[in-house]
Amino acid sequence: MANTFVKIASNTLTATTSSVTFSSIPQTYTDLVLKISARDNNGSNWGGGYLRFNGDSTSGNYNGIQLAGLGSSVSNSTGSGSWGTNYMLAGRANGGTSTSNTFGNSEIYIPSYTSTTTQKIVSSNDTTENNATSALMAIVAGIWLSTAAITSIEVLTPGALYQINSTFTLYGIKKD
């Protein structure tokens, strides 16, 4: 049972940016947790949220399943077809038309990130609540089809910019 939650690095934006990358991630923890509170400027109530590991944007190297609550409806989708093949869909932000001064809330759990024998499974809980009729809540189960240890994580919003005061924090979890 993990009993240590250590902040590795954190960044709060003072200017807009397309992505935030945590590089040279220490290989001394058991698992990683990435917490994101973000808003972007895309033309929707909920924004993007992609993850890439170790700079890998090779098509076919990612897959996943998403269960989403959209407004009052529920939908599910898989990472085949139009999304998820060269990125992991996780870490959603509130979009540009969401209620002002609201930020999405995401927690992404990455177990056994230092393993060099297993592919990397990721779970993500994303909410973009903004006290409006249009909002998204998503649970994602993703996989990076690589046995490489994770040394960097890029968080990006496609075609938009993360807004000022968006915060990205990486934690390490270690057993005794």
Binding site: S23, V74, S82
Partner: protein, 71 residues
Amino acid sequence: MTTAIEVNCATGEVVERPLTAEELAQRDADVAAFAAQKHEEEVAAQAAAEAKAALLTKLGITEDEAKLLLA
């Protein structure tokens, strides 16, 4: 100018830099993929909402009455 931020976890250094040509091309590709994915999500949500409305009509009950039944 579109920028990217890199946080070096080993040194704590934070660097803000412009995207490379390769990164800009990848960003353009990501935009297209994301637009397609959002469209899928919105179509799925619309289909679910229409199916729910049709079922309520068939049953002759309101949404609040349905929630009461399921409570």
